[in-house]
């Protein structure tokens, strides 16, 4: 197994020599000369060889495991849908996931998830941070932890991007004590980051002139005394320029029309295609979400509609990453705050259920075409391979080549990446 944790990532903090060392390694003698060496090509090549990426599909509200990855047709809890065979003999999915079923040979289903928390907020906290929400705790989410472990110091673009269904841009608070640098940058409904276009009042030429003046001024200040913080500050402006010049990578309409058609013209389809685009351009962590699965009423009708979008977008996404050879370096996760009750309520709905549900992973160190864990005949309990949020959190990191038992040094504090009292699902890591 190759753990890419210790090298070329930012948990070295901003130790001056580390920072300058990376800069020098990238062929940049001085900060003042712009970032010519940081061409997309150079970064891209490096990424292709060693960079691991994580993409999180977050199903808001609690997706039903019974209508997706752990169907129980013909039982008292199974609901009206049948199960269908997949590309892996012996593994069946719900008939609402026909396209995903054809990609099963890339996937690893975790069917014995028991997170023991049926409240939306607390369940979400557990699943995204790998820890229970206790009093003072305010832990970073998987995306931020992965971004901190995986983003190279010299990576100019934001290392953690969240594509949100609506709303504006800005920075989230999902990195908590890991610092705003690893918080997700939001692309509201897939729009590019805010302020990423030069205002009309400033010409490109004049912008270059003022930036050059700023660089000369910084160099004069740095020549008095070089510190990591002052260099990091200057560097953030170079990152901004990189981001502006590569603004196109946030523009999904630059993707072929055929692909846009294939993924679906609904939000999730566009967001999934944008996620593919971002990953191809080296973004270490991308999160997208699909809302809202909280089906206390009309669970079945609702899942028909919702899963139509998910099945199409997700199956295209997995197939494309596999085709492009990116699956070995990209970890895909489908998560939710919990699953839904086996028991169907009087309103044809299913309620919150955290004791026997499923999540899906694919890529990196995950085995291909496996269903791990088992629930009983009508899905009311886990009978084999019971795992919880903490096991999963460790596993996500390990799968992406990060030593989940390590620590980050946060301003002098050593903080564990994942719950030190837990461990990954060792037996499935390849």
């Amino acid at each position: 197994m190759s753990i890419n944790y210790a090298c070329n990532t930012s948990e070295h903090g901003m130790a001056r020599r580390g920072f300058l060392g990376t800069m020098a390694a990238a062929g940049l003698g001085t900060m003042s000369g712009g970032l010519g060496a940081f061409t997309q090509q150079a970064v891209g090549d490096q990424l292709k060889s060693e960079q691991k990426r994580v993409v999180i599909w977050d199903m808001h509200g609690g997706i039903s495991q019974l209508e997706t990855f752990d169907p129980k047709p013909g039982t008292d809890t199974g609901g009206p849908f049948l199960s269908i065979p997949t590309s892996v003999p012996g593994i069946h999915l719900c008939e609402l996931m026909p396209l995903t079923a054809q990609q099963m040979h890339h996937l690893c289903l975790i069917r014995g998830v028991d997170t023991d928390e049926d409240d939306h907020g607390l369940g979400r906290y557990k699943v995204t941070t790998g820890r229970p929400k206790t009093g003072a705790a305010n832990d970073p989410q998987i995306g931020a932890v992965a971004a901190r472990a995986l983003t190279p110091e010299t990576y100019a673009l934001p290392g953690h991007i969240m594509i949100t269904p609506g709303g504006g841009g800005g920075r989230s608070n999902d990195s908590t004590y890991l610092g705003p640098k690893y918080a997700s940058v939001q692309l509201g409904n897939g729009k590019p980051p805010e302020n990423s276009v030069l205002p009309d009042t400033i010409t490109v030429e004049h912008d270059a002139a003022r930036q050059e003046y700023r660089r000369r001024q910084n160099e004069r200040f740095l020549s008095r005394r070089r510190t990591a913080t002052s260099e990091a500050y200057g560097y953030s402006y170079e990152q901004a320029l990189q981001m502006m010049s590569q603004r196109d990578i946030f523009d999904v309409t630059k993707e072929p029309a055929k692909d846009q058609e294939r993924y679906g013209t609904h939000d999730l389809g566009r967001h999934a295609l944008l996620a593919r685009r971002l990953l191809e351009h080296g973004t270490p962590v991308v999160k997208l979400s699909h809302s809202n699965y909280d089906t206390h009423h009309e669970n079945f009708n609702f899942h028909i509609e919702q899963l139509g979008e998910l099945d199409r977008a997700f199956s295209c996404f997995v197939a494309d990453l596999a085709d492009r050879g990116m699956l070995d370096s990209t970890l895909i996760i489908i998560m939710s705050e919990f699953g839904r009750t086996p028991k169907v309520n009087a309103r044809y709905g299913r309620d919150h259920w955290s004791h026997a549900w499923s999540i899906v992973m694919a890529g990196c160190r995950m085995p291909r075409g496996l269903a791990y864990g088992k629930t009983n005949d009508n899905g009311t309990d886990v009978v084999d391979g019971r795992v919880d949020h903490a096991n999963l959190f460790h596993t996500y990191l390990q799968a992406a080549g990060v030593d989940s038992t390590g620590t980050f040094n946060v301003e002098g504090r050593e903080v564990p990446l994942a719950d030190p009292a837990s461990h990954p699902i060792e037996e499935i890591l390849t």
Partner: protein
Amino acid sequence: MRATASLALLGLLLQADIVFAQDQPLHLLIDKHLSPASSESVLCSDAEFFRRVSLDLMGAPPTAEEVRAFVADESAEKRTQIVDRLLASPQHTRHLATTLDLMLMERRSNAHVPQDDWHNWLLTSLRNDKPWNVIAREILTADGDDKTTRPAARFFLDRQSEPNLLTRDIGRIFFGRDLQCAQCHDHPNILDYRQADYHGLLAFLAPGYAVVRKETVKEGDKEKTKDVTIHAEKAGSDLTFESVFMQGNPHRTGPRLFDDVIIDEPFLYPGDEYEVAPAEGVKSIPRFSRREKLAELATNGTHRMFNENMANRLWAHMLGRGLVHPVDLHHYENPPTDPELLTLLGERFAAMEFNMSQFLREIALSQAYQRPYDPPAYVLATASEAATMVASLVQEREALQQSADQSSETFELALIVWEAAEAATLPIADELDAARKAYDEARKKLVEAQAAVTKAQAELDQKQAQLTPVQVATDAAQTAVATLPDDKELAAAAAQFAKRAQELTEAVATLTKNRDEKTSAVAGPEQSFAAAKGPVDDAVARLAPLRETLKLAEQTLLHARRQMRADAVALKALDERLEAASAIASLPQLREAVIASNTALAASETEQMAAQQALDQHLAQVTERQSAVTIAETAVAQANASLTEAQAALTKRVDDIKFVEAAAETAQAASEKLPDDMVLAEAAQKLKERSVSLSSEIGQFETSVETATTAVTSATTAKQTDQQMLEQSQAELPPMQETVARAQTAVSSAREQVTQEQANFDNAVSNVTEHWSSNFSLASLKALTPEQLCWSIFQVTGVYERTWNEQADELEKASPLTDEQKQDPDQLADRQREIEQQTYNKLKGNLSTFIKFYGAAAGQPQNDFFATADQAMFAANGGSILGWIAPTGGNVTERIVNAEQPQAAAEELYLSILNRTPSDAETADVTTYLADRDADRAAAAQELVWGLITSAEFRFNH
């Protein structure tokens, strides 16, 4: 120079005995502890000082005019005067309120107390010179019930009264200790933080909870019911806990502060604990409030950690880093830079009755605060003493290590004793819990029985009250019947009365019986209750000596811990000094290496030059020989030509002879035929003679040919020689070229070596510089907070001044000061405060934008620097800053546009934004920039202003 430059080193290395003179101002005492990096650079320049102290004390830099005046001021006291002026400004109070807000609330959302109320409470407190311990006490005791102190309750309320969160944040913010990691087990990395410390503090806070009360509020004309959350407290009990790593080994603690024994609490029987018992929507009030006890213990002036924590935080506010840094990780593996100085600061802060502004003043006046940012020019001068020190420190370290090992052992033993003592108390404490529970149950039963009697009596009384008038009526009816015996209706009514009286009499009898039964039923619970007291008292009595033993064990343990910590701190401090000294001591060697590599480079360059020269010479020779060969070839060609010519001449002469001989023979024959023809005979004779003469000259021609042949041979030989020499030279060329190439490679690698050695040296110097910075021998870099950044931009772009003037005019119009008032300093100060408040109100809307981009996340420490691309894009492309730097109203951009000389423009630019005059290079830069853009000078001026506002020099205080 050499002798004086080692000052820093002495400060760094010597544990000088410092005599504390209590009557000396604190800033002088500080400077006995901390020394400059070099005697050449003890203090920073006036301009540097002015910007630094303005940012630290009022949150924004000075204006260009103020800097000019300050630099020109020749008073020896001008730094003290400016500090006092800043401290008296309304902006100082504002900045300190903002600083406290960030420290206390860390941008948590305002769920229960509006931000304005909270900020104003802090501001008003500071305007009234409320000392820190009083502010802290009010925060630690306010419950939000009283409108006037409700803002102070924000610390608890906006943490949802969550005991664990409060434990963490009170530990961090009021005591400088982040115990979070010790919640579930002893801290894995910090031996100093124990689970018992966490739970001891938690025990003060665990009884707290949020209670929601319905309140009627007026909204306009309507009255509405509103939920109001307040903090309430229950009666406390012991907390039990065990380590997640060592289960089955339970512990128990009452409230106790870090490094202290469990507090004594009054013993209260169950049922006596409350003044107001808990109930839905009711603020319970215990007879003994742990929270108030915590506030009292922390803020009474004697709690060292409380005092040192704030002293350290105010120090960090000014110096950019705490003596303990991070400021909430005070433990023995992260000891203060100077433990004695921290003790001194804590003591003096308490002695000046926690007056924050006075304390900040002393720091500002110290030389330690006024150090330069630039490292000294002569770093190497301190090295030789450093080397000597390293040796002696290494020895000293051994002794210290031994002592530290020993005290650590003592601590381990004390821990075992303490654990045993604690274990002994546990069963009795459990018994007491059970007895208290039984007592409480018996008490409740008794209360129930007593309530039943009361109830039965009340029922009886009620019935009795009905019976009495009915009885009277019955008697009256009987009398009436006796008077009118025939009145049947009356008789029936009387019978009815009698019947009802009978019924009631029976009912009274039943109720009386019931009352008596209930009364006698009290006896049982009374007995039980009386009996239940015994076990409680018994358990209390048995527990008391065990607790006393535990307390003693704990005192021993704490003593051992303090000793262990003192040793560890000393060791660590020594290690830091050792590291610093080693870093300095290593400098000459690294410098030598730089020099050596330069020498090697020079040597290899010489070699390369020699080789190149030899090659060049040789190449010249080759060229020369090449031309010799060419010349020789020409000579050969010429000789050949001569030979050809000579041969041709010879051939011609031979032909001529033949022709003449033939002619002579023909003439002879003719003459013989015509013997008398004398003319003919003479001609024949002449021809004969000519033939003979020609024949005799032939040798000459033959010699010419021979000579030419020889010349050809010799020229050819000469050419061959030259050719050979050329070939020889050419053959010698490749090895010489190789030599040159080798020499060039050697030069490149020598040059690389120089770069490497220079980098090593530079790194070592920067290491030393960082040591100096963390020892306060040099100034640190302090990132501006979002608020500071916002106000600073308003200040340097003139937005602040413009708004201030508008507000001043408005106030003057609305309520002009009389001439008399204008003479009154208090009135004037009030007016300044009003203007500041209105200016703040006018501009504060912009703060949120800066907080959004530059602020750390809510609930996280707010002083960690980070730089992201979204900030840079906001500064580069966002409308806000670009709008403020447009030329208008005499602001810096407009002044640059209007400056007649580029020098004046440059000076205006640098003084306004960076508060210093430009260097020559900077003036030249500005001059060129403006000259290139004569056509759109306003845009160019704006770009220059932008370039400085976005520069690192502006982003940081230094």
